[in-house]
Amino acid sequence: MTPSVRLQEMIRVIRSARTQGEERGIIQRECADIRSQFRQGDNGERSHSLAKLLYVHMLGYPAHFGQMECVRLIASPRYSEKRIGYLGAMMLLDEKQDASLLITNSIKNDLSHSSQYVQSLALCTLACMGSAEMCRDLAPEIERLLRASHSYIKKKATLCAVHIIRKVPELAELFTPSARTLLSEKNHGVLHGAVVLITELCERNPDTLVQFRKAVPELVQIMKGLVTSSYSPEHNVAGISDPFLQVRILRLLRILGHNNDTASDAMNDLLAQVATNTDSSKTAGSAVLYETVLTIMDINSESGLRVLAVNILGRFLLNNDRNIRYISMTSLQKIVQTDHNAVQRHRGTIVDCLKDQDTSVKRRALELSLALVSAVNIRSMMKELLIFLSVCPPELRSQTASGIFNAAERYSPSKRWHIDTILHVLTTAGGDVRDETVPNLIQLITTASELHCYTVHKLYRALIKDIAQQSLVQVACWCIGEYGDLLLKGECEEIEPVQVTEDDILDALETVLQSHMSSPATRGFALTATMKLSTRITDNVDRIRSIVSIYGSCIDLELQQRAVEYNALFKKYDHMRAAVLERMPVMDKNSPGHTNGDTSGEIKEPDTSKPKPVEAGLLSEPASQVCDLLDLLGGTDTPLQPSPAPTSTPTTTSSADLLDLLGGLEIKPVPTVSVYEKNGLSLKIQCDKQTETEVTVTLIASNSTQNDITNFTLQAAVPKSVQLQMKAPSGNVIPAHGLGQVTQTVLLNNPNKVSLKMRIRVAYSNQGAMHQDTVQIDSFPSAACQPSFSPL
């Protein structure tokens, strides 16, 4: 009587429960019933009860109280009880349970049972849940069974041995001798087990591996027999004779042939034969071919064979079966580095797989495509990848975006193409790109100076279409702020002309500022861009002023601070505004501020760093005035680039008191020549020749009036070929009555040795009135440094 009838009744009842609660109630009742059955001892019901318990366990309910019953049933002489008892042991008694040790003795007895089916139960259970201790106890028994018994038991004993070795690796030597002889078995089950056992032994012990290399010819023979044999119904699967065994033998050959020329040679022919003759129209054949390819790639095979293997993978790529395409790409991924050219030949098919419906296939195709991008195919590959980006599933987006960026960075054929590609990615998947994309892109744009007009037009157009993608909006705002004048010009060679008015631009920036989609960082970009435009546009400066002043009371602290400072730039420091907001120079990719997305290295750029226009103005202002002065000096047409002077002067973050900076400068005891004297302000210069081309000029200002002179600034201009470096002045207040001085040092570098001239402009306040004047120094004689001068 099988346990099934009672069991089935219970299952029916449980399944008829309509709610979880009802089911729980039924289960509770049944478990109570089972427990009482267990307590009653032998009444022919025990196996039914355990079977029911195992069902309950599968539903997820606790069943630990059945463990002892398993032990008892295993010890029973009745086969039905043993059978269900062993099943219970496999399900409830894993090696972590203490009770598992109790069945060791029963297993031992059953291993020598007269019925092979009882032996089989014991072997199966040991191989399933045997702990290390149990394995150690029973290993000799297993070894005996390996050698002596009938094939039904032998095959099970072999796999049991595999389990023992996995649990207790030291026992491997016990089984090594028998393993070799098992290879001469005819029974496929035993043969399969033998191959698995030998594989396990070789994996664990390199010496054993060397030993078993001698078995390669034998394995090759067995394989040949399988491949060339006539149809055998017993083991045939879709025309392949015992694919399970073939796969295991191929795997063992792989391990034996790896890094060994002799062994690899011995299997060369066989592998070629299998690769060519196996029919891969069904999965079984493909499985064998797949294993063959893996083996060929992993041993020291000759190049012809490798080519054959890659071609098989290429053929797999064209297979209708999605599974086969998937595993083909997995394998190609493994060899794409070593056999790059071979894989490149199949690039077209791989790229087509990007369009597959299945996500697993898409993922593999993406990884492989990215690995295949090279300088030669970058344009066509990028086209495909960008198409893929727009339709790919969300979980693959950021991987695709970063893959595209990497590829573009390494292989882009031109700057414009690179910028276009990044813009495309930002428009399609801006939300999935990494944070450093924005500063990287900005840096790239600044280096491509010939493309500024094109870039800003494209970005502007993208901006007015959609302001949701934060990274795109940030880059667009920055560019509009920086190159707004180019945008207004309207025409650009590479883009069809569109008339953009100042109002349009300011509208766009205001939309970004006000939109709730914009992150705080984005609004920061937009505000700064608006401010920068004040020097690049002509009519709507008032509008900018009003925008900036509104944000002076913004809740966001960063925006508020910026707005307040920009306001100051409009009001108190208006004369410095143009200088502060000038065009930025090209950024160096590895400059210290750069990697943080922070361009604080440049004091002229108030964008991402906290701007201090007041201090910065003092130092950088001379630069723009330099250009004005130079114009007067002789029509030198310098571009609106700041001279290197201000940027190398130390960035001061302290207040207007700059007295300390001149501490290191020595005032050389050279004659001081007075160059200017007016209204009580006198200006003297000292000059000292450092080298053939370098001169240090110190300007000393003093005040003989009754009142202090305040806001004293000096600007200097020199001819074009001369380089000027103005150090920070000692102060901007000259005490009255000649009680103090202000000095400022100017370094001149005259590489072309032209005649040195310098024009100096002084500006100051005295008694509330602003004064400004200019002095020109015409010559600095090289020997004595005696200047001659002419006041204007």
Partner: protein, 165 residues
């Protein structure tokens, strides 16, 4: 693709699961020792992943450090967890072989057969796979073994006539 000492198996099955489309477990076979909690978590995660796959998808998935191979037969999903070094295609054949064995035994097997005779499904599995490895590649052999083993199951009379211990 090398196995190491300490029980790391790079070529074998970690588990075999059968579950219905509604997420009910019908059979579970574990080839490594895991706590009950771990087993439950794995079952939940794998089921979740497999059940959302659209039909005609690829039968292979990557999950944590394992390959998952699954196939749907009528209302049941047959699902395996494999190590990285394993051959997915032969595993598909393995799953198919198991279904054929069940079919041969029950005659036109359906999910209900497996529900009401789950212990038999286990017995058949244990004649086909031991310790995560195939033990018998001949369908006929497995069928014959099952038949003979079943014949050993005692009748009620025989049952009661046998001594207890």
């Amino acid at each position: 693709m090398r196995g190491g000492a300490g029980g790391i198996q790079l070529f074998s099955m970690r588990f075999l699961l059968l579950f219905s489309r509604q997420g009910k477990l019908r059979l579970q076979k574990w080839f490594t020792a895991l706590s009950d909690r771990d087993k439950k978590k794995i079952i939940r995660d794998v089921m979740q992943m497999v059940l959302v796959r659209p039909p005609k998808s690829c039968n292979f998935l990557q999950w944590r450090d394992l390959k998952i191979v699954y196939r749907r037969y009528a209302s049941l999903y047959f699902c395996c967890g494999l190590e990285q070094g394993d051959n997915e295609l032969i595993t598909l054949e393995l799953l198919h072989r198991y279904v054929e064995l069940l079919d041969q035994y029950f005659g036109n097997v359906c999910e209900l057969d497996i529900i009401f005779n789950f212990e038999k499904a286990y017995f058949i599995l244990d004649e086909f796979i031991i310790g995560g490895e195939v033990q018998e590649t001949s369908k006929a052999s497995v069928a014959k073994s099952m038949e003979e083993a079943d014949s050993l199951q005692e009748t009620m009379e025989e049952y009661l006539n046998k001594p207890t211990y």
